[in-house]
């Protein structure tokens, strides 16, 4: 215990001291905005917080909410009305509600139960789904609200309190690794100077830790006991969603101090590298900035579903039309003919008038009242609306819900989408977007945690002009491999025509392939134990082999820079099983350097206030020696300096300045004698950069003692200066010493991509998807990742949109706008001019520029530019901006967007996009909760979209179209029959037949289709990613298709009805002379319908499993069984259907003959259509299906045609790995051509050649 506490103490000193060096470059926040102080007390800045006196906030006017948060959509009271309202916003549901209401007044032609029951069922299921989803949200909230935090109660005693019970004014103590329960004002930390480190990844996606610093005045409050008498009053801004601003002041011990964002700890961020902090709650619960930043999750509906509404409108208009026809027809018959039909006993018009009122009152048939023909027609209209309701497929919604749930189940169960590492699989959280997955055109992706694992790996380095760690990029490798296969035939043809080329061409290729293999071998040969953060394989350097290197001094210095020039500390509390240490530093990059230098034999083992201790491997003695370096100065890294230096003196008193920084910055500051390796290093740099590695250049210089002394006085002076010029002075001072550097080399670290990310992006690009990268991280990091994922590449024309310094400093919106507009316009001009050329465009824009670019009048230009670029990278964007970009892209392009992210900062974008996907691999669950789906890894997106998305899109569209077809085919026969019954409203079919239609007799095949249909197998989907384009182009659900299917339904219904009428009337249908009555005709016609619609779905289905067979043929069989059973029931139940199959129609051969004829005829139009389409206008999936069929037989997948089709089917892409390889091949070819030319020239110029050509024979 004692040891631990002393270590804690030690750590405390180190960290605090270390950063007191660096204090010089921290922005002076308190003086920064003097104007802000005047705002306090004004509207919008009226909040008052009594610190440590939370009871004062229980009453008005200082009553603020508890720290309780709720993200649920409904509560117990609002659920029923709101959920019902949501349900009846669906047109079809509303229609069926009306129908049910009418049935209560016996206006409907069917029984009440048959109308109300399905409605209750449909609405009930949907509402149940809503309720379950909201319940999950509630549980999540409960979990968050019930976390505990140490809270001060009185007399310096801290006890655990639930988050939800926290109040504004509470003093809390947060320990290392914990989340802040609400927005806190930092009072003090475990460090003496009151700094603390905060990870804001969940909020803004930035990976590096942020330093927060308390006020000097509250530094003393660093023990529990100090808080027994602590009192202070904070005046600050009202709750707002802005993450980066905070204005306020604190009155403490009768003094007023200004507050700045650097004292504010935000909810959802995490305390790191700091043992504990004390803070006071400023904003709680829904007032916190994190919650204010979040938007309510909207209920999303897929494109197909929205279009389905339009189909419903069409069907509804059809319904209204035929109902109008019916009611007018009925009116006409009623007025003209019907009174003459004595067998109806309708009172004659005149008679009614003659009779006394009592008689007309007694007259109760409201539908046929000759004295009130208009009223009768109106009632007939309502009845017709309900009667023809079969045109509107109510069960469509239920079926789709069922199908989607099953689809979701299949997606969730897909073993290919299971991650063994995290033991998680894909979870579709809402099932209503399955088919939308097949229509995505744009992917907006977060970077950290989504594409990368937030882990840096030391990959390559170039020391003294030599590159280590494999010098072949993967693109080169792939390009040379493919060129060998691709160009062999080409080569062959050259051989015959031109003998001269033969001598060098194979040689040229063999070199590249040899070096590739060689490089590969070197990369894979030394397979040591996996070290986290160190993915470096080169036995020239590892295992201390570097001592055999030529430039030993430079190599040693290089490693020293790596081991000394940083801000990290070793973690001592590791159990000492190995002698390896682990480190903690401000950025993961530095950690990877420290690990790497340890691997190379330069272990950084201790740091004191002014001393750094290394365990170095000494090449001369071949032993490890411990060396101490005195840390003289530390010139900290900042985004404007882009470099960091330490000045150290070694044991011999030699003073070195060790510097690392961005290559351009370092190269500018090289001494004349320090450029020995510049050229070689530059080459390596560009190849590293192209591979997406983050590079830093290392350099050093020796400083004479005298020079150091004189500089140090200047530096100390500058540091001591107070006032605005301090920063400038410090900058000048460091410029003075950071010069005449000697370049040592560069290191390349990989922001480690998650497994399979580049391949996935490649496939998605081939499938024609556009990928935008939206990250809160720095521009450089974003660009690196752009390269690593092949979103950017070297030959790409890049546009960088950012605010110029002048515009930024002026802070004039108008100037900034003009600046950005100008940049956009010039870029767009270039795009237009060079559109035809090969080179694609990349757009990189940062958050500040984006803020301007997304304003009302600029956004159209911006989006126009962005859409025309092959890839777009937005860096340093806030969560709100992510959401805004998503919304604007969605609105501007009208395309389906998918947003994928892992952190709370992505929630806005995830909710805004058509489909939101949360990555569930990492800790925070906010993204997962907000998302419609969750994936354990980014790479699963490939299969999710290209396979499942494609399938689901196909399935749902086929299913909806078929539904429309079958209901039109069925519903219209009801109408045709009306024409023969003088529009009286008589129904051809028994009530039960009709109820059975959607419930049993046609539902299973369509569900089987919706769940199991595959146009092509999953392998083929992945091999032909261009098939995916069917979704975004919406070929399967276009209006022409919809109309086509409606027409098909009309044709089928006509064929079915007319054939039956003409065949069965008026002659006998059986040998015994019996004629078909209304019930026989109904049963026969209905049989034809069942056969037709079920055979139709058999024609649609392209993937038959036994389930499809069973459901289709089973449904038909079920109809006969039903008819048999129903007919066998006593006549009380079965009514006119009694014995209809056995005695009535079953024994009549005519019945079966009609069935065959009608089914063939009604399916003939569709059959001819698909034959013509397949033979003369085939679609991609048709060809691929056929090829699959062929190749299944002969099993020659690598057949030339197969490969060619596959190549063709890839959409020509401009981003992704393949595109890069293509570009590389192009450039290789150009080089080859040039070489050929030059050799040809040299050959033709050579005297031998001349002597041959100018032979005497010629």
């Amino acid at each position: 215990m004692a040891a631990a506490s002393s270590r804690k103490r030690k750590g405390k000193i180190r960290w605090s001291k270390l950063y007191s060096f660096a204090a010089c470059f921290r922005p002076l926040t308190s003086e920064e905005r003097p104007a802000a102080r005047e705002l306090i007390g004004q509207p919008g800045f009226s909040r008052v917080v009594f610190c440590n006196e939370p009871h004062l906030h229980k009453r008005k006017p200082y009553k603020y909410p508890y720290n309780y948060i709720s993200t649920t959509k409904y509560n117990v009271l609002t659920f029923l009305p709101r959920a019902l309202f949501e349900q009846f916003r669906r047109v079809a549901n509303f229609y069926f509600l009306l129908a049910a209401i009418f049935s209560l007044f016996s206006l409907a032609p069917f029984s009440r139960a048959s109308l109300i029951a399905p409605l209750v069922f449909v609405v009930g299921i949907s509402m149940l789904k809503e309720a379950v989803e909201d319940w999950h949200r509630f549980l999540q909230d409960l979990d968050v609200n019930n976390r505990t935090v140490k809270t001060h109660i009185s007399n310096g005693v801290f006890v655990d309190k639930l988050w939800k019970e926290l109040r504004v004014g509470d003093v809390v103590k947060v320990n290392k690794g914990e989340y802040f329960p609400s927005d806190l004002l930092l009072l003090s930390s475990s460090y003496e100077d009151g700094v603390c480190y905060v990870e804001t990844m969940n909020l803004d996606g930035e990976t590096n830790l942020k330093i927060k610093r308390c006020l000097e005045a509250s530094l003393c409050l660093n023990e529990d006991e100090e808080f027994s008498k602590f009192k202070a009053t904070v005046h600050c801004e009202d709750p707002n969603p802005n993450l980066y601003t905070f204005v306020g002041n604190i009155e403490f011990e009768k003094e007023s101090y200004p507050l700045s964002p650097s004292q504010l700890l935000l909810r959802d961020s995490k305390l790191r590298n700091t043992d504990y902090i004390y803070g006071v709650v400023i904003f709680s619960g829904h007032d916190t900035k994190a919650v204010r930043n979040s938007t309510r999750s909207p209920s999303k509906r897929s494109r197909i579903e929205r279009k389905m509404d339009h189909i419903i409108y069409i069907l509804f208009s059809m319904l209204v039309l035929v109902s109008l026809v019916s009611s007018f027809g009925s009116l006409l018959y009623l007025r003209q003919d019907m009174v003459d039909w004595w067998y109806l006993q309708l009172p004659d018009d005149n008679k009614v008038n003659d009779l006394d009122d009592s008689n007309s009152e007694k007259y109760d048939d409201r539908f046929f009242n000759p004295s009130k023909p208009v009223q009768s027609a109106g009632l007939q209209f309502i009845r017709a609306l309900i009667l023809y309701g079969y045109l509107i497929p109510i069960s469509l919604y239920v079926s789709i819900e069922v199908v989607k749930v099953l689809q979701t189940m299949l997606i969730n169960k897909d073993i290919e989408l299971y991650d063994d590492v995290t033991c998680k699989s894909v979870q579709a959280r809402t099932s209503n977007l399955n088919e939308e997955l097949g229509q995505v055109e744009m992917i907006l992706s977060d970077k950290t945690g989504t594409l990368t694992c937030n882990q840096m790996e030391f990959r390559k380095c170039s020391i003294a002009g030599l590159s280590y760690g494999g010098d072949i990029t993967e693109v080169d490798l792939a390009a040379s491999m493919r060129m060998n296969t691709d160009f062999e035939p080409f080569e062959f043809s050259i051989d015959e025509t031109d003998g001269a080329t033969r001598s060098f061409e194979p040689f040229e290729f063999s070199v590249s392939s040899f070096s590739a293999q060689n490089g590969n071998a070197r990369l894979t040969k030394t397979e040591g134990p996996v070290i986290k953060g160190f993915n470096f394989r080169d036995d020239r350097l590892t295992n201390k082999n570097w001592i055999h290197g030529s430039n030993l001094f430079d190599i040693t210095m290089f490693f020293r820079v790596m081991a000394l020039c940083h801000t990290g500390i070793p973690l001592e509390d590791d159990n000492h099983k190995t002698d390896k240490l682990s480190y903690e530093a401000e950025s993961p990059e530095e950690v990877s350097f420290l690990i790497a230098s340890q691997e190379f034999g330069f272990q950084f083992c201790r740091r004191t206030q002014s001393l750094m201790v290394l365990k170095e491997f000494d090449p001369s003695s071949m032993k490890e020696v411990e060396r101490e370096y005195k840390l003289l100065n530390l010139l900290e890294f900042s985004s404007s300096r882009k470099r960091m230096s330490v000045i150290v003196s070694n044991e011999d008193g030699q003073i070195f300045l060790l510097c690392k920084g961005a290559d351009s910055i370092i190269f500018d500051r090289l001494a004349d004698n320090g450029k020995a390796y510049e050229q070689a290093t530059t080459m390596h740099l560009s190849s590293y950069a192209e591979d997406g590695l983050r590079t830093l250049a290392f350099a050093f210089r020796t400083i004479e003692a005298a020079e150091y002394e004189s500089w140090n006085t200047i530096f100390t002076q500058a540091k001591a200066t107070i006032g605005p010029e301090r920063e400038e002075l410090l900058e000048q001072a460091s410029e003075m010493i950071e010069k005449d550097l000697i370049l040592l080399g560069v290191v390349a670290v990989e922001d480690k991509l998650q497994k399979g990310v580049p391949e996935c992006i490649d496939k998605l690009a081939q499938a024609g998807l556009k990928i935008w990268l939206l990250t809160g991280d720095k521009r450089e990091t974003a660009i690196n990742i752009g390269f690593a994922c092949s979103l950017l590449r070297q030959d790409m024309k890049q546009f960088h949109l950012s605010l110029s310094r002048d515009a930024e400093s002026n802070n004039q919106v108008k100037d900034m706008k003009e600046d950005i507009l100008q940049q956009i316009e010039s870029s767009y001009k270039m795009v237009c001019e060079e559109r035809n050329k090969e080179a694609p465009f990349g757009l990189v824009i940062d958050g500040k520029a984006l803020e301007i670019a997304l304003r009302g009048d600029v956004k159209d230009e911006f989006l126009q530019l962005a859409v025309n670029c092959a890839s777009v990278i937005c860096c340093r964007v806030s969560p709100k901006q992510k959401a805004l970009i998503t919304r604007l892209v969605k609105q501007y392009t009208g395309k389906t967007t998918l947003a994928i992210g892992d952190g709370a900062n992505d929630v806005g974008m995830i909710q805004e996009a058509d489909i939101g996907v949360g990555i569930s691999g990492m800790e925070g669950m906010q993204a997962v909760m907000a998302g419609d789906l969750s994936l354990p890894q980014f790479r699963f997106l490939e299969r999710l979209l290209i396979v499942h998305g494609h399938w689901c899109y196909q399935r749902i569209s086929k299913m909806v179209l078929y539904f429309v077809y079958k209901n039109v085919a069925f519903g219209l026969t009801l109408f045709y029959y009306e024409l023969y019954t003088s529009f009286s409203g008589e129904v051809l079919y028994d009530d039960w037949y009709m109820t059975m239609f959607n419930v049993m007799l046609t539902s299973l095949p369509v569900i089987a289709l919706g769940v199991l249909e595959q146009d092509v197998s999953s392998d083929i989907c992945l091999q032909f990613p261009a098939l995916y384009q069917q979704g975004p182009r919406n070929v399967h659900f276009s209006w022409s298709r919809i109309i086509g299917w409606i027409l098909n339904g009309v044709v089928s219904s006509l064929v079915i009805f007319l054939a039956n009428i003409y065949i069965l009337s008026p002659t006998a249908m059986r040998e015994n002379g019996f004629v078909a009555d209304i019930d026989s005709l109904g049963a026969i016609t209905y049989t034809c319908i069942i056969w037709t619609v079920n055979c139709q779905i058999a024609l649609i289905t392209s993937h038959f499993t036994w389930i499809q067979h069973l459901s289709i043929w089973g449904s038909i069989l079920l109809w006969y069984i039903f008819l048999l059973v129903y007919g066998a029931l006593p006549p009380n139940f079965s009514g006119n259907a009694f014995q209809v199959l056995v005695e009535g129609i079953g024994s009549a051969p005519l019945y079966w003959m009609i069935t065959v004829l009608v089914v063939v005829v009604s399916l003939l139009p569709y059959f001819i259509h698909i034959v013509i389409q397949r033979s003369y206008f085939p679609m991609d999936d048709h060809i691929i299906q056929e090829m699959e069929q062929c190749y299944k037989k002969y099993d020659v997948r690598d057949n030339e045609m197969w490969v060619r089709e596959q190549r063709n089917s890839q959409r020509s892409t401009r981003i992704g790995f393949s595109a890069r390889v293509d570009a590389k091949i192009l450039s290789f070819n150009q080089q080859l051509q040039q070489k050929k030319l030059s050799i040809y020239r040299s050959v033709t110029n050579s005297p031998i050649y001349r002597s041959i050509t100018t032979s005497p024979f010629s």
Partner: protein, 275 residues
């Protein structure tokens, strides 16, 4: 014992075989023409006998007699609903006849059978005379067996029927139970379309070509008020029922056009294959 009987059976079967007297069906491949005679008989108002001058072809018994009504909406919703299946089966019952509106009660007593359908029962009658001899018309078994046995009660007798001020169609013999009133049962199987035939009876004697049949009819049923037509039909049947060319023509047409289309596509496929 068992063995013996089985052996007997086998021997018997074998003898049937050797004696060439196995049960067999003999498909008659010559087309079996259905002969149909349709005569409209309501042109003149006065009921008078009319003659079917010549039977066009030999008509093999049984010859079915139908009456055909046109422009008669037996499928009108009001009409179709106006019946009580319960009453037809169980008879005297005050309840369950509300569906029979507007023909449910008369003089405060229920009507059996109630409802518009029964009330408007067709009541023209026909007698057929060939060569001065009356052709016997069999009027049994013209209704569905299941109707007779399960839907029309054996103990239900017509009651209070056609006793009101408005007389619709025919009257029923109140001493015959409903299950034996086959005319009523046929009539109450309402037709699907406004032109329909209903079975009247069977002539169980063959009619030869050029036979002259004289029909004596009682033209009772009123179709004049709504412009309906009444026809008398004599028809034989085949296994496909009555004379209907539509089915055959449709089969021939669809079959031949399918073949044509198949040939066309095959040719197209051979002449200009895809790719």
């Amino acid at each position: 014992m068992h063995y013996a009987s089985i052996v007997m059976l086998i021997v018997e079967a074998f003898s049937l075989f050797t004696q060439q007297s196995l049960p067999a069906c003999k498909p008659v491949l010559t087309p079996e023409w259905v002969v149909e005679i349709v005569e409209r008989y309501d042109i003149g108002c006065v009921p008078e006998p009319f003659r079917i001058d010549k039977v066009p072809k030999y008509m093999k018994a049984p010859i079915y007699i139908y009456y055909q009504l046109e422009n008669y909406y037996q499928n009108h919703r009001r009409y179709v609903k106006s019946r009580s299946d319960k009453q037809l089966l169980h008879g005297q019952n005050e309840h369950g006849i509300s569906s029979c509106q507007p023909v449910e009660v008369n003089n405060d007593r229920p009507i059996i059978p109630c409802g518009l359908i029964a009330w408007s029962l067709f009541n023209d009658t026909f007698t057929f005379i060939r060569n001065r001899a009356e052709l016997k018309v069999n009027r049994k078994n013209i209704a569905w067996k299941s109707d007779r046995e399960h839907k029309f009660g054996k103990n239900v007798y017509p009651f209070n029927f056609q006793n009101g001020t408005l007389i619709g169609g025919g009257k029923l013999n109140p001493t015959i139970p409903l299950s034996d009133q086959e005319d009523l049962i046929v009539w109450m199987r309402t037709s699907a379309l406004p032109s329909f035939r209903k079975l009247y009876g069977r002539i169980e004697k063959d009619l030869d070509v050029d036979d002259v049949v004289v029909v004596h009819l009682m033209n009772n049923y009123n179709t004049y008020s709504f412009g309906g037509k009444k026809k008398l039909v004599l028809s034989t049947t085949s296994w496909l029922g009555g004379k209907n060319d539509f089915l055959g023509l449709a089969y021939v047409f669809i079959g031949s056009s399918s073949v044509t289309i198949a040939v066309v596509f095959t040719l197209l496929h051979l002449l200009s294959p895809r790719h």
